[in-house]
């Protein structure tokens, strides 16, 4: 069942991202505590994707990786605790991280190794804490992890020693990643880190296996990627929260001024603002793809919905983003965006982009976009138009003009004349097209008001101090660009001293189906093969559909006809016949009911019902009242659960109609009784329309001329000749057998 429900036009503003206030407001996602306890990954957690690229001192992301293995041991004399952690930084391979960018809590400390696709560090996990006299015993975890294969992951090993009594040993470690996971960038087709959200979207689309590459419009994706890069809309974040891809694509598109579209079935992003050829925001006169007029509109094809007051009143947007110093830990910030003099004391709406946005300009432009749409867009429109060339040319995000003449008086003509953005297209089976359109406001020069606002929006550009004055806990230099060590373990197949599970120990590979025509769908739907059951005679008639076909009366070769006793030719019943149905045919204790059906009108009448057999049969005599009727026998088995005490009817047979008069088939036999030679003579009596004579040929033969009935019931006179088998000179005589009744003829 398919329910086709058209969304109310009032929802369009929300569906299009025009009005999407956050449901809950909270601390910025990037506002992680630095000295919180170290986290450990759990089985089933998503593998994080660190996606960033620091360009021109903008970008990068602070990652707080979880640990998978640990080693704790203390000095037997000083009780100094050495903590070793194995951390998973990201899916994929990351470029080598400099020593200045790794932290324990807020401090640059420790000895680090970084590797890819294997276990980092060579230390063995475990708790090797001993009690040292006159010291407080360390309380370290006992389940320190085994090890794994870390396939296609960037891993880190961190080792650091803490003096007796230190409470910093369990602080979370942090890594400032300047260059994240390497992907093939769509803009330059180069493998390397990227900060383009289109690269991330493509990676997720491909890796999730949800959208085949055939259904991705790479041309439009490239244009969208260039739009983001040109206008500084960059992604620098950690993708780690389990999400729905469709929802994520739609939401992230809004924060990059992109629209997720599906054109002809292919997915793509398209800029939400008009763009120039060089991908900058277009602030000149806007062109539109098509103009709708009264000529295109179908009856009742115009529906308008104005944006509600709640979604138009002035507000102040608090855009949250992340300031990322080059040599310090980044932190979230807010930038308030409002129209001058409006909403100075609120209301406020919070938009948290701190998880991925490291550019204040990006945040401000998104804020300006949202505010400008709120300020200038007044309504949405739904047009129902006849099919035309635009059916195949217009797509989501295109600009169209709607110009309709409004005549309220002969001297007062006015026009509904606006530009719109196509938000939704429904191409109905009838050919009519329904366009959901969002007002596209322009100024008196035909320039997009929203585009002008966004292009003009600039960030204050003020850099706030991180607020840290004491860096004495740093043991590694904040300017040390030395890359982390590359030490790690290439496990042998057995795992060596470690115990990483093998693939065979953790994976079950079911055998692939071998059916060549339908490997993944099972065997063709013919059901199981059933051979001839034991006891069935060989060489007999195979049931319809084969032995594996269940008994099904509908598939019988011919309808059941169990009525016997019709004495006319071709089993035609005639008056005086006794028709019978054997009890074995009924095959249950029940009854047989006889009825008759008028051969011309189809009207059916009951004759009688019999609950008991006589000499093993249910019988009825054919009387003259059955002439021109067929006779039907129906069996009912006893069924105490049925209302009448009998189950459903089963037709046992239906005779041919009882003829109005008998027809006779005259058999002409010569005196020797040879024959028969059969001709049908439509005569109820023995008056003979025939003549016989002895021919004079040698040997002599006897010829009779008789009227015979042909297949189409015409009567023709034919000659039938018989060689006389009697001795020469004798005159053959013919005997006429008793008449044989034949089928009726119209």
């Amino acid at each position: 069942m398919t329910l086709n429900i058209s969304d109310p036009l009032a929802l369009l503003a929300y569906q299009s991202g025009l009005s999407d206030p956050v449901l809950t407001e909270a601390a910025a996602e990037a506002a992680d505590d630095l000295t919180s306890p170290q986290v450990a990954y759990k089985i089933g957690d998503p593998v994080p994707i660190v996606f960033c690229r620091r360009v021109s001192n903008v970008g990068g992301v602070l990652v707080s990786p979880g640990a998978t293995e640990a080693r704790y041991e203390n000095n037997a004399t000083t009780n100094a605790l050495t903590v070793s952690l194995h951390l998973v930084l990201s899916e994929g391979q990351l470029p080598t991280i400099p020593i200045k960018d790794v932290f324990v809590g807020p401090c640059r400390q420790g000895t680090w190794n970084q590797t890819y696709n294997r276990r980092a560090g060579t230390w063995f996990p475990g708790n090797f804490i001993t009690t040292v006299v006159d010291t407080t015993p360390w309380s370290c975890p006992y389940y320190c992890g085994t090890s794994g294969r870390y396939a296609n992951m960037t891993t880190l090993s961190y080792v650091n020693t803490f003096p007796d009594g230190s409470d910093r040993w369990e602080q979370q470690v942090h890594v400032f990643v300047r260059e994240g996971m390497q992907v093939t960038r769509i803009i330059d087709s180069t493998l390397g880190p990227s900060n383009n959200v289109i690269d991330l979207a493509l990676y997720l689309m491909n890796q999730s296996g949800r959208i085949p590459s055939t259904l991705i419009d790479n041309t439009k994706m490239l244009a969208a990627a260039n739009f983001c890069q040109t206008n500084g809309f960059l992604y620098n974040g950690v993708f780690k929260e389990s999400s729905n891809l469709d929802e994520w694509l739609e939401q992230i598109g809004n924060d990059f001024l992109l629209r997720l579209i599906e054109s002809n079935g292919k997915f793509a992003f398209k800029p939400r603002l008009p763009v120039n050829v060089n991908h900058t925001i277009k602030t000149t006169t806007i062109d539109w793809q098509f103009t709708f007029t009264e000529d295109h509109l179908l009856p009742d094809g115009f529906e308008i919905q104005y944006i509600s007051l709640a979604d138009r009143q002035p507000i102040c947007l608090q855009m949250m983003w992340r300031q990322q110093p080059d040599s310090d830990i980044g932190f979230p910030r807010t930038t308030e965006v409002r129209y001058t003099g409006e909403a100075t004391a609120g209301p406020f709406e919070q938009y948290d982009m701190s998880q991925f946005c490291a550019s204040e300009t990006h945040a401000v432009k998104v804020g300006a976009f949202r505010l400008a749409r709120r300020k200038y867009i007044t309504h949405t429109l739904r047009l129902n138009v006849r099919p035309s060339s635009y059916n195949s040319t217009l797509e989501l995000g295109d600009i169209v003009r709607v110009r309709l003449r409004r005549e309220t008086a002969t001297t007062a003509l006015s026009y509904h004349d606006f530009l719109y953005e196509v938000e939704r297209i429904e191409k109905t089976a009838s050919g009519a097209c329904i366009f959901d359109l969002t007002h596209f406001p322009i100024d008196n020069q035909g320039r997009s008001l929203v585009a002008l606002e966004v292009a003009a929006a600039t960030a204050p550009g003020f850099t706030i101090s991180p607020g840290r004055s004491d860096y004495s806990c740093d043991e590694n230099s904040s300017s040390d660009n030395t890359g982390l060590g590359g030490g790690g373990i290439d496990y042998p197949a057995s795992g060596g001293n470690f115990d990483p599970p093998t693939e065979a120990e953790t994976t079950v590979n079911l055998p692939s189906p071998t059916e060549s025509t339908w490997p993944t769908g099972g065997y063709p739907p013919t059901g199981p093969n059933v051979s001839q059951p034991a006891g069935e005679p060989t060489g007999g008639q195979t049931p319809v559909g084969g032995w594996d076909n269940p008994v099904d009366p509908l598939e019988d070769d011919s309808p059941l006809n169990a009525i016997t006793g019709a004495s006319g030719p071709g089993d035609t019943p005639i008056v005086g016949d006794t028709l019978s149905v054997s009890a074995s045919v009924v095959s249950c204790v029940g009854r047989v009911c006889w009825s008759k059906i008028n051969k011309d009108t189809g009207e059916e009448f009951d004759i009688s019902c019999q609950d008991e057999t006589i000499e093993g049969s249910y019988s009825i005599s054919v009387t003259s009242s059955e002439i021109d009727y067929t006779i039907v026998a129906v069996a009912f088995c006893k069924d105490p659960a049925a209302p009448g005490g009998f189950g459903s009817a089963r037709v046992l047979g239906e005779t041919k109609p009882v003829p109005t008069y008998a027809q006779y088939n005259w058999q002409l036999l010569d005196q020797t009784g040879a024959g028969p030679v059969v001709s049908s003579i439509r005569k109820p009596s023995l008056t003979a329309p025939y003549a016989c004579f002895l021919s004079s040929v040698n040997p002599p033969r006897t010829t009779c001329l008789i009227d015979v009935q042909t297949e189409n019931c015409n009567f023709v006179t034919v000659a039938t000749s018989y060689f006389a088998t009697a001795p020469t000179g004798d005159t053959p005589t013919f005997t006429i057998n008793a008449p044989v009744k034949t089928a009726d003829c119209p």
């Binding site: 398919t2 086709n4 991202g17 306890p37 990954y41 759990k42 089985i43 089933g44 593998v47 994080p48 994707i49 640990a67 998978t68 293995e69 998973v88 389940y143 320190c144 992890g145 085994t146 870390y150 396939a151 992951m153 997720l204 999730s208 296996g209 949800r210 959208i211 259904l215 389990s242 999400s243 729905n244 469709d246 929802e247 994520w248 739609e250 997720l260 579209i261 599906e262 002809n264 079935g265 099919p387 059916n391 195949s392 989501l396 938000e423 939704r424 297209i425 429904e426 191409k427 089976a429 050919g431 115990d499 990483p500 599970p501 953790t506 994976t507 339908w518 993944t520 769908g521 739907p525």
Partner: protein
């Protein structure tokens, strides 16, 4: 204008086209775009394109003949694609073959994502497996093979 509409459906993958059907020219095999399209009385319910999550699918109703059932079953099993094209033309001009002047009014390419129906009729849902519900990304999760038994703090 005698407005008429013909629908064309193609099942294909990266290398092979498995079926080409058209709805208008009854019991005929016609040529369009240098390919043969045989008659099959299916019906598409229209195409919706939207930026909003979900709702981006097309339903086609087809007779449940053996060949049709098998074609769509295989398409569903193997993730084959369906291309639906809807043309409009003036039926007064030519009823025997596609007109050169016919107008493409809708086109949609997608995967077969669902099949349902009755013994005699199937409804084929075209779309993508990009479901609007359920967690899908990040695509990889920590498994025992990847990290063994992890640290428990």
């Amino acid at each position: 204008m005698g407005r008429a509409q013909s629908q064309y459906l193609r099942i294909f993958d990266a290398t092979t086209t498995y079926a080409r059907w058209q709805t208008y020219y009854v019991n005929q095999t016609i040529t369009l775009d240098s390919a043969s399209w045989s008659y099959m009385p299916f019906n598409a319910n229209g195409i919706v394109e939207s930026g909003a999550s979900g709702g981006k699918s097309v339903t086609i109703t087809v007779p449940a003949t053996n060949s049709v059932v098998e074609a769509f079953n295989l398409a569903l099993s193997y993730g084959r694609f369906c291309e639906l094209k809807i043309y409009e033309f003036d039926s007064r001009l030519d009823q025997l073959a596609p007109q050169a002047s016919q107008q493409l009014i809708a086109s949609y390419t997608a995967e077969v994502v669902g099949i349902s129906g009755t013994f005699t009729r199937l409804e084929i849902e075209l779309g993508s497996s990009l479901s609007p519900v359920g967690a899908q990304v990040p695509p990889r999760k920590f498994t025992s093979y990847l990290i063994g038994v992890p640290l428990r703090i």
